[in-house]
């Protein structure tokens, strides 16, 4: 679930491509790598940082294609064993303390997921970064000694996206998104996401640390760290079921 966002940023590496790539190609390449993957399993921690406090949530996540995702909270103990299921455009949550399966209503979509700066909507609406935007290379910039394409992505008018445009900094060598700025329809910067701590995990170079800063409250922050990730493990559609939400460990 959260994984869907993260993979949007932590592109899978593949060494050097030919020089002349269009902006769309760059984004597609990164995106296809992700979409081309069958499935994944990951262990992550999410640190929600506020001026006066912070807390860490740990979870496991399974995904299959773009349609299915299942997330299991493992810590803190009070919230452990809660699960979230995404099937297509619907999202359910299972809470063992009240033994309830809840389909998240539209009204809850704009609320933060587990109190973080990610909204439920972010998790569900993983719109296509390839087909829903018009891409344009606007320059090259260096981020942490890595040369990046600076790509401006303008949302197509008919696409149903909450963002008006995005600017992504995609590393030339490993095709990692090192930075992304997301703007709303009125052109205001809503949040900045940065990828860092590049590691090789399960044979791929990825950014294992993603930081989200909402621009209206710059002292707030959500930090995701990927602890473990496996690609293309065998998973069936049937794994992503309401029954399994209650069983999965």
């Amino acid at each position: 679930m959260i994984f869907l966002i993260i993979t949007g940023l932590s592109f899978l590496s593949q060494p050097g491509f030919t020089q002349q790539m269009s902006a769309t190609d760059i984004v597609r390449k990164a995106d296809e790598k992700f979409n081309g993957e069958k499935s994944s399993y990951s262990v992550m921690s999410m640190k929600v940082i506020r001026p006066e406090w912070q807390r860490t949530i740990e979870f496991k996540s399974w995904t299959l294609g773009k349609e299915y995702a299942l997330t299991l909270i493992t810590a803190p103990p009070k919230e452990a064993a809660q699960t979230f299921l995404k099937r297509g455009s619907e999202m359910w949550s299972w809470n063992p303390t009240i033994s309830r399966l809840i389909k998240l209503p539209p009204s809850m979509m704009s609320q933060g997921w587990m109190g973080s700066d990610y909204t439920n909507d972010d998790i569900l609406r993983e719109s296509s970064v390839v087909t829903d935007y018009v891409h344009e290379i606007v320059g090259e910039e260096k981020i942490d000694d890595r040369v990046c394409y600076k790509i401006k992505m303008t949302a197509k008018e008919e696409a149903s996206i909450v963002w008006g445009r995005q600017i992504r900094w995609i590393d030339k060598k490993d095709f990692l998104v090192l930075k992304a700025e997301l703007y709303d329809e009125d052109g205001y910067l809503v949040r900045t996401e940065t990828g860092s701590d590049i590691k090789i995990m399960d044979g791929r170079t990825i950014t294992s640390r993603i930081e989200l800063v909402p621009s209206e409250e710059p002292e707030n922050k959500t930090l995701i760290e990927i602890r473990e990730i496996k690609f293309n493990i065998p998973l069936e559609d049937s794994f992503f079921s309401q029954q399994n939400m209650k069983r999965v460990r």
Partner: protein, 473 residues
């Protein structure tokens, strides 16, 4: 002087009717002004008492940020020693801890946003006293059927009962009041009505894991005592708070706005639920009286007691500025009404004085002509006026006393639509008068001043008196 007093006194009773009319106009002036003001002040006072004492409290200890941002994150650490230190301050009546937040409440397929107020079930009895608000009687179809089947209650009484169908009551007195039965009928049928409409209910124990649900919310969620309600929300520092709570009791809150969304639980249960160990959002402090000076001194004392400078005491008018302004606005408009009344009264008094002077023009002329000093005559007339004034004043004040006393102890109880409307606003539908206070003497002083002002006219007339003209008329 004695002689003049004697003459003045005799003058008064020489024309009794005139004296009575003049003093009556003063009498009514005082009487109406006092009674009206007493009512105005009494109603405000009742409203404040009602609202403040069981809603915001005179003072509340809060995190400095809580008022602008009432989140559970803006709570503070609480222990019993703080409470006992505050309650030892002079003139503090009660200290009541609260932990308040908002969650979703769900039962079956119904879900609703609710306000959760966590209380200390024992200490709360000194404050909002939810135990008093438990629903004891309910006029349901079933209850009416019972009454019908018992066959004791005649049809006309049954119709009255049916008018209150689906209403619930926290006390038999309130039920009695709403039914509006005659004393005779009350004695005959009340026991039966109470027996048929009685429902069982329960309060929270000290470490209870259960909840009290407000009446309208309970019927929306379709829960009764013994059922469970699921609460979901966000706890301290973004923790997701979920839990299942058994319903221990149903409470009836007069204001439908609150009755639609209130859930009460114990503080330990809420601290566990919200993951806010040892935290409360406010300490409600009630005092013996609400004088400004007392509020300020206790506020300062509490602030010096609190170890954390971010946790401070706020007065009820800081907490509820809208109510405060409303009361002040009402008081101003009341004063304006009173001013209008004074205006009319003054011209009433002045009119009778005018009449008196023109009636006695000839008399004054003769007196001056046969050698009475104008000075002496003025003194006599002044004494007459003051006597008239004090008779009216004293009688007016005396006459208002029993009325004020009566309505202080037996306030007017409003009924029907108006009463319902007032209850909707969260007020008790009673209008008591105010106990004797400065307002009482002030009315007397103001009316006395008006009498003095009116006296200036005859004095001026005497000063300018021309004997010949006066005698010739």
């Amino acid at each position: 002087m004695k002689e003049e007093f004697k003459i003045a006194w005799r003058n008064l009773w020489r024309n009794r009717r005139r004296t009575i009319i003049t003093s009556a106009s003063i009498f009514f002036a005082v009487f109406f002004a006092v009674v009206m003001r007493s009512y105005q002040l009494g109603s405000y006072d009742h409203m404040i008492t009602n609202f403040i004492e069981s809603f915001t409290g005179y003072l509340q200890v809060q995190n400095i940020k809580y008022q602008d941002n009432p989140l559970i994150d803006n709570s503070f650490d609480f222990n019993d020693s703080i409470a006992s230190e505050i309650s030892e301050i002079d003139k503090v009546v009660s200290v009541t801890p609260h932990l308040e937040s908002f969650t979703l409440a769900s039962s079956g397929s119904q879900t609703k946003g609710v306000a959760v107020i966590a209380i200390d079930p024992v200490k709360e009895k000194n404050f909002s006293n939810p135990e008093n608000k438990l629903v004891r009687y309910r006029i349901t179809d079933e209850a009416v059927d019972h009454m019908k089947n018992a066959g004791i209650i005649p049809d006309n009484i049954l119709d009255k009962v049916k008018k209150n169908l689906d209403r619930s009551y926290s006390s038999s007195a309130k039920l009695e009041l709403e039914l509006g039965l005659t004393d005779y009928n009350k004695e005959l049928y009340m026991t039966e009505i109470i027996k048929c409409s009685e429902v069982s209910n329960g309060y929270l124990a000290n470490d209870d894991e259960g909840i009290l649900v407000s009446d309208r919310l309970a019927s929306y969620l379709n829960v009764a005592i013994g059922d469970s309600v699921i609460l979901m929300g966000q706890g301290y520092h973004g923790v997701s708070a979920t839990g299942m709570f058994p319903v221990r009791g149903i409470i009836k809150i007069p204001s439908p706005d609150i009755d639609n969304k209130l859930i009460i639980m114990t503080i330990p249960a809420a601290q566990k639920f919200f993951d806010a160990e040892g935290k409360v959002t406010s300490l409600v402090v009630n005092l013996t009286d609400k004088s400004y000076r007392l509020l300020k001194t206790v506020q300062a004392e509490i602030n010096s007691l609190m170890p954390d400078k971010n946790t401070i005491a706020k007065t009820w008018y800081e907490l509820n500025p809208i109510l405060y302004q409303q009361i002040q606005g009402d008081s101003q408009s009341g004063a304006a009404m009173l001013g209008l009344l004074y205006f009319i009264i003054f011209f009433g008094i002045f009119g009778t004085v005018l009449m008196m002077v023109s009636e006695r023009k000839r008399e004054f002329g003769v007196l001056v002509a046969i050698g009475m000093q104008k000075k002496k005559l003025k003194r006599i007339v002044t004494i007459e006026m003051l006597l008239l004034g004090s008779i009216g004043l004293v009688c007016g004040l005396l006459a208002s006393v029993p009325l004020i006393l009566y309505f202080y102890y037996y306030p007017i109880v409003l009924k029907g639509e108006l009463a319902n409307m007032m209850e909707d606003w969260g007020w008790d539908a009673v209008m008591p008068s105010a106990w004797f206070g400065p307002y009482f003497y002030w009315q007397a002083v103001i009316v006395a001043l008006m009498v003095v002002l009116a006296t200036l006219y005859p004095l001026r007339k005497i000063e300018r008196l021309k004997e010949i003209e006066a005698i010739k008329g």
